[in-house]
């Protein structure tokens, strides 16, 4: 087994010493080389949920809707849409004159084929289907109009149509060439078309001049799969890679890149939020006063600045600031050990009481964080023991069965960045991730927003849910981790994305 820590340390030390080196040679004009940590193995939209599928495939495919780095929904292959039947039917007007990379026309047939495939036999083999299960069927109204008929209104569906399983695929191409061929030779309507793919090595794309949004500014886009962070950074320093995308660069390697005059670190808040959730059913954390005391007793800002190198934002509820449902008026509880001690006293908790914190053993950064948390708790008279688990054991056997200690790690984040997904899974009675709490009022709030398609109204309820959960101190909200990109300075117009769905149409290289 490789000693990654050792490698990083050696690399950082030496790269700092050698950061005086001369400018990197530029590669061929108009070609951007990207280092991605994982080969998803298939480029078929229905096959995977790996974020590094999206960081490539967002350039190859389009969805009916589009969502860029600003996370605002915009027209994609559909120019407009309307809700009918109280939100149970979505009618899309399709963009005209769009062609797939193989010349096949995009039309209502292609939309129907895409969703029939996703929800049918082929989609059943992969993980994507469940995210679109609300779609009952697709009805073609005419060549340029198509209806998605839903089992129930789903306010998040329009977002979901902008990514992953909902990417529109070419019917004739797949029927002619077969599924296996399509996995390794993707064709879509996106701004870059597929050139070649070498499993475990890389994938090459080139500009699709006929894209409906205009031709991309780059002529070629090369992705290389490099999983070892030290290697990816060495390639960046050597000038053979222009962009290293997350999740690759660990916080400890940021200075190496910052000290290199040709490189820079660009970050965006990522989708993942971290919290220590409480056992609200048994022990001392049953009492909301105790839970609040524990939150007040931990200096989360200092943890972010010291352990996380400032690459995270403190959070007040279990969501980041880019999440739909985020309430900017909510502020994290301050660090106040005196008030914490007073609250503990009030709750009748004697100094020296103990709590157990369950964490994922393989999450090295979080293990450092939780050790700091344990020290802070010590200062307010709570003895915390940290219990590391194998991730899958914690996720499958311990949390859902309600066998955790007083606190347990939860890291959460979906690409839709909609608080509904988080809140419902964490707080609704009977959900897999909510083994301890039952709250009829919270259940009602959670259910009510699921059928509302009015965005403003729904956002209001989501904010209400966030405040309600914070009032009850259902978890100790910790932070929202940044997505970290290492970028060569020859790259211009690069906008980091929070959700790995990179579309590199505006990027240029010197």
């Amino acid at each position: 087994m490789i000693n990654k820590k050792g490698i990083h340390a050696a690399f950082i030390a030496l790269a700092m010493a050698g950061s005086f080196m001369t400018a990197a040679p530029a590669s061929a004009a108009g070609t951007l080389t990207v280092s991605s940590p994982q080969d998803p193995g298939s480029w078929d939209p229905v096959d995977t949920f790996l974020v590094n599928w999206a960081s490539v495939a967002t350039n190859i495919y389009d969805g009916l809707t589009y969502r860029g780095p600003d996370l605002k929904l915009a027209p994609g292959l559909a120019t407009s849409w309307e809700e009918l039947d109280g939100g149970k039917r979505l009618r899309f007007t399709l963009r005209e004159g769009v062609k797939f990379h193989n010349g096949e026309p995009f039309n209502a047939e292609a939309v129907k084929f895409t969703f029939d495939r996703l929800l049918g036999e082929e989609g059943s083999k992969g993980p994507q289907k469940s995210n679109y299960a609300v779609i009952e069927k697709v009805e073609i109204v005419d060549e340029k109009t198509v209806d998605l008929v839903l089992k129930a209104p789903d306010p998040v569906l329009l977002t979901k149509l902008a990514g992953y399983g909902a990417m529109i695929v070419p019917p004739n191409y797949i029927k002619e060439k077969g599924e296996d061929y399509f996995n390794a030779h993707p064709v879509g309507t996106g701004p870059f078309k597929f050139v070649s793919y070498e499993p475990k090595v890389g994938i090459k794309l080139e500009a699709f001049a006929d894209h409906w949004g205009g031709a991309p500014k780059l002529s070629n886009l090369n992705y290389r799969f490099i999983s070892e962070p030290a290697t990816a950074v060495a390639e960046l320093q050597a000038g053979r890679v222009d962009l290293v995308i997350p999740p690759t660069i660990p916080i400890g390697m940021i200075p190496t890149i910052q000290d290199d005059g040709n490189l820079e670190i660009v970050t965006s808040p990522g989708p993942t939020v971290y919290a220590l959730r409480f056992n609200t059913r048994d022990g001392i954390t049953k009492d909301p006063k105790v839970r609040k005391a524990l939150i007040l007793g931990v200096d989360r800002d200092t943890i972010i600045q010291s352990i996380l190198g400032g690459q995270a934002d403190p959070i007040a509820s279990f969501q980041g600031k880019l999440s739909f449902g985020f309430d900017p008026a909510m502020k994290p509880l301050p660090y106040d050990p005196e008030q914490a001690k007073a609250l503990l006293k009030e709750a009748g908790v004697a100094p020296g009481a103990s709590v157990q914190i369950d964490v994922r053993g393989n999450d090295a950064t979080f293990n450092e964080v939780v050790q700091a948390i344990a020290s802070y708790l010590q200062l307010i008279g709570i003895n915390a023991t940290i219990k590391p688990y194998e991730t899958n054991v914690l996720l499958n056997d311990i949390i859902p069965a309600g066998k955790t200690g007083a606190m347990f790690q939860q890291s959460w984040g979906g690409w839709t960045l909609d608080y509904d997904n988080t809140a419902y899974s964490m707080y609704h009675s009977g959900e897999k991730w909510n083994p301890y709490d039952k709250d009829a009022e919270l259940d009602k709030l959670l259910e009510s927003q699921r059928s509302i398609t009015d965005r403003a109204k729904r956002e209001e309820i989501l904010k209400q849910i966030a405040n309600y959960a914070a009032d009850r101190a259902l978890e100790m909200p910790l932070y929202n981790l940044n997505a970290i990109f290492g970028v060569s300075k020859r790259v211009k117009n690069f906008a980091p994305v929070p959700d790995s769905r990179l579309r590199l149409t505006d990027v240029t290289v010197e």
Binding site: I2, D44, T48, N131, V201
Partner: protein, 307 residues
């Protein structure tokens, strides 16, 4: 010879059986591949996981899965990667040559350095050249290979910008990985060559050769080296087998698209079929190399052939 080959073949079958069974069983403790595939999915229901497991054939009992795998071996069908469904044989077909080439290049580097140095050390026994070579090889022996790899990358890729830091892309890309593996092998090989040579140089036929008035290089390279070739070939051969297995770290640092990287990725993503296939192929190769070493004996030393 035929009896010998049959015995070796049966041994190989047994080894592969034990290795595959152990690996197939052990990898199933790393966790659920279905969860891995569904990571990033907002909320995954139990039904989703059951459906995905069925699609991967994981709903079958372990022995049924194992025998499917063994059955596939006979037709070189290793199944499909859990990650994206690429046929595993296709992944192996591109990774195996990459690893073989690297292992071969490393061995060449090592032999090219260690034979002349080892002979020099043996001839100069006890003198400063011998001492220097022995100390150098001790230093070489104590290098962790990933550290050496990183030093090379820093020097040749980042500071001097002469060589590509990673990937397999032409002759230049072989230099650093082969040097890394080669230098570490050299450390042991120099000592081995030295010891073998010392023994041989004391033989009477060397005295005879010298008495005949042959040049020193002829004595060393024609008479002495040939006679100590047997232990060396054995060792280099076994080393080649060991190289195939021990190449993971070096492949990872250099992002070499070989069996080591394939195995590492497979463990990380719980890709059972890929890991099973990689281990099986590597163990087959090691068994095969051992066999070749035995045959090579016969070629170098006629006494073994006629026995």
């Amino acid at each position: 010879m035929a009896g010998f080959l049959i015995k070796r073949f049966l041994q190989a079958v047994f080894v592969v059986f034990v290795v595959t069974l152990t690996v197939s069983y052990a990898i199933r403790f790393t966790g659920d591949p279905a969860l891995m595939l569904a990571q990033g999915a907002g909320s995954v229901t139990e039904e989703d996981l059951v459906r995905i497991r069925e699609g991967l054939g994981l709903n079958q009992p372990f022995l049924a899965q194992y025998f499917d795998f063994i059955k596939g071996l006979f037709t070189l069908d290793f199944g499909r990667s859990f990650l994206g469904g690429t046929p595993v044989s296709q992944l192996i077909a591109s990774a195996l040559p990459a690893t073989m080439l690297l292992a071969f290049a490393s061995l060449i580097v090592s032999i090219a350095i260690s034979i002349p140095l080892g002979i020099r050390a043996a001839v100069a026994r006890g003198k400063w050249a011998d001492q220097t070579i022995r100390i150098l090889s001790l230093i070489g022996l104590s290098f962790p290979n990933f550290w050496l790899a990183i030093m090379l990358v820093l020097l040749f890729s980042i500071v001097l910008k002469w060589l590509p830091p990673s990937g397999m892309d032409g002759f230049a890309s072989f230099i650093m990985p082969a040097l890394t593996m080669g230098i570490i092998l050299t450390a042991t090989n120099v000592r081995l060559v030295r010891t073998a040579m010392l023994e041989t140089l004391q033989s009477q036929y060397i005295m005879v050769a010298r008495a005949k008035g042959l040049s020193e290089s002829k004595v060393l390279y024609k008479h002495a080296l040939r006679n100590c070739a047997i232990p060396l070939i054995t060792y280099f051969g076994l080393q080649f087998g060991g190289l195939l297995g021990g190449i993971v770290v070096v492949e990872l640092v250099f992002n070499w698209p070989g069996m080591g990287t394939l195995a590492f990725d497979a463990v990380a993503s719980r890709d059972y079929p890929v890991l099973q296939a990689v281990i099986t192929v590597l163990s087959l190769m090691i068994v095969f190399v051992n066999l070749l070493v035995d045959i090579a004996y016969g070629l170098v030393d006629p006494r073994i052939r006629t026995e």
